[in-house]
Amino acid sequence: MDFNDTKEEATFREQAKSWLAENAPAYQGDHTDDFLAAAKAWQKAKYDAGWACLSWPKEWGGRDATPAEAKIFADEETEYDLPVGPFLIGQGMAAPTMMAYASEEQKARFLPKLASGEEVWCQLFSEPAGGSDLAALRTRSVRDGDDWVINGQKIWTSGAHYSDFGILVTRSDPTVPKHMGLTYFFLDMRSPGLEVKPIKQISGQSNFNEVYFTDVRIPDSQRLGAEGDGWRVALTTLMNERAAIGGASGEMNFQTAFNLASETDLDGQPAIVDRGVRSQLADWYCKEKGLEFTGARSQTALSRGEVPGPENSIGKLVAAKKTQDIASFCIELLGMTGVALDHEQLSAYAEAYLGAPGSRIAGGSDEIMLNIIAERVLGLPQDIRVDKGVPFNEVPMGAK
């Protein structure tokens, strides 16, 4: 029971650390001006030096590293504030799917450019009417000669506006049960008939898009898996989702609340003196440490060549609610200062409070996380599915 690397891991970490120390700072910090260009430059630098997509085969731009090594590099990389977001989906979800289902030619054509950051990919799965019922998608694909013609709408597509390619699940046959009529493709995001619209969130930010398809044509050669077998392909993609998304970020954490409570007056004393405040802070500290050390246990499993299980779902569940609660606590402590403009923008606490609902929902709501834990970890029965075996076009859909 220690926090130390094995000898091999320590060597690897040293190499990673030293390469990062030399190269990362140049790409660090404020990259809002041209975030994508900065991200591509950093990815290219990693690729050129052999630090991109570590666990991938060498022939596609990786270095055949172990999952533990990949995690070590990722951890060290987060010590710097680097622009890595645009590649998470392409490298984390599209690439494993391409590896499993694309032709050798396609792999040779696309994977190295995913690794080098030259091309950015997005994922076109969710639809407005679907929500947590992912397979209830309606975007239609109809075969037309050597092409497929796509009509419909996707939603929650991160990075659609700057992506070069996308992975897409469609319904090719609505007359069979839900999971059986799906077909999976990848496509050029500049295809005619494809329109991207940003979604404005509560927080005012737009991290997601809606994508509209009007007679978009995809060559059949870009089908992944057999016609009607799209759900199986999608599961390959989704199995990699949790790993790619990671925990909710911790902009509002214990330390935020601790610092604020130390600086803010409550009844003539610093709020931190108050035992009720302390109790609340201690709760968050224990949650945060609990997640941190759960992470250490996962890393240990990787080190031992084991696969960490869906128990990692607790990270998102606990962290997102904690962020909301900490933001709310800080606002209440500050009173009106907490909800008002501060140096031309809303207080960081108000911003976090507005952003938190998104964190509690995007990538799977609290309730979905609980279902995952209940079913996949504890082995409890699935919810009853009234749509089981029912042809998709006969399943009740409601109005919304």
């Binding site: 929650w156 108000a350 609902p357 749509d387 409601g398 919304k400």
Partner: protein, 372 residues
């Protein structure tokens, strides 16, 4: 036992519901959210025409002479509609303060507030935290002249007059003063908050004429009483908002299908909605307690106000957060209305001091009662 609103009061409620759903649906709040207006002036004008601003003002001063129960009804419905108007500032706060002022001040201002000729507000804050009299030291009045600054004044950029807490330069007592905001020496700067559907401004006073509300009320007695009375009315706004958020969540859950059936049929959602309902019911019952104490000026008012306020803040927080959660992905989009309640809930929760402060105060009042 008659612990409900009367038939007449419920008739008033029906009228309010009809008017507000017609003239102040959520699209009006959204117009203010997305646009440059500071408030929905056409809705405000109609509210004046309906006489709501005169509800609890005595007939002797141009009011309808209804009791405060009627005002509670209006407050609940305004809270439900999220109407972006300066009602709370002008009626719960300024009118309440002026109504208990000395004769000359009252006779001067009350009719104008009642008929909507002027919009009032109350300026309390100088520093962060709850509105604590001990931490109001910047504004002072000397020889009837006010100097100093106030922050985060709700409707501060809209109002024509403000009640201001300030120190009497001679005695050091914290008193309530009334100030004409069109006077020279008043500077206002609009600030944005988490809820852009309500106006807020910082105010600066440089040698501005200020009338004491009542010379005999020293220290914080007058302020405390004002906060308690307005807290009941704010609690009704919170109650209305909480119930609206619950209803919105319920409607959505009934209409939204997943896996072939409405999500309202899944226990995770059912029980969440049931818990929201429980929170709303407890808040409603405690708000009625507050209303009774407010209307009868009962000695229980401080306890009742704190009880109503704590319950209503809790209910609104829970309902506004869970409403988003039940909406799933749609819930955190700008396009859906969920965030309007989420924003308003947080604003109303902190604007008279947060839940933790009111709980502290509640126990202090109970201690005082039980020691007596």
């Amino acid at each position: 036992m008659n612990f409900e609103f009367s038939a007449e009061q419920n008739l008033l409620r029906e009228q309010a519901v009809g008017f507000l759903s017609d003239r102040a649906p959520l699209s009006v709040a959204r117009r203010i959210l997305d646009g440059d207006e500071t408030y929905a002036s056409e809705v405000w004008q109609e509210i004046i025409n309906l006489g709501w601003t005169a509800t609890a003002v005595p007939e002797s001063h141009g009011g309808f002479g209804f009791g405060h129960l009627e005002l509670c009804v209006v407050a609940e419905e305004l809270g439900r509609s999220l109407a972006p108007v300066p009602f709370s500032s002008s009626v719960y706060l300024a009118t309440e303060a002026i109504a208990s002022a000395a004769n000359d001040v009252r006779d001067d201002w009350l009719p104008k507030l009642a008929c909507g000729e002027v919009i009032g507000c109350v300026a309390l804050y100088e520093v962060s935290g709850a509105p604590d009299p001990d931490r109001m030291n910047d504004c002072t009045v000397s020889d009837g002249v006010l100097n100093g600054g106030k922050r985060w004044v709700t409707d501060g950029a809209i109002a024509d007059m403000s009640v201001v807490t300030a120190r009497d330069a001679d005695t050091g007592n914290l008193c309530l003063y009334v100030v004409d905001l069109s006077a020279e020496g008043v500077q206002r700067s609009t600030i944005d908050t988490i809820d852009p559907t309500r106006n807020h401004a910082d105010l600066q006073f440089d040698n501005v004429s200020a009338m004491p509300l009542a010379s005999e009320i020293g220290d914080s007695t007058g302020l405390r009483r004002l906060l308690d009375r307005s807290a009941v009315l704010f609690a009704f706004e919170q109650l209305g908002g909480a119930e609206a958020a619950l209803n919105m969540a319920r409607e959505y859950a009934l209409g939204r299908y997943a896996f072939g059936r409405p999500i309202a049929g899944y226990q995770a959602i059912k029980h969440k909605l049931a818990k929201m309902y429980v929170a709303v019911q407890l808040a409603r019952s405690n708000c009625y307690y507050g209303a009774w104490a407010l209307a009868t000026d009962a000695p229980e008012l401080p306890v009742a106000a704190a009880t109503a306020r704590v319950s209503a803040s809790q209910a609104y927080r829970e309902c506004s957060e869970e409403n988003i959660q039940i909406h799933g992905g749609m819930g955190f989009t700008w396009e859906f209305d969920c965030h309007l309640y989420y924003r308003r809930a947080k604003l109303l929760s902190v604007n008279l001091g947060g839940e933790y402060d009111w709980k502290h105060r509640l126990i202090s009042c109970i201690e005082a009662d039980q020691a007596a």
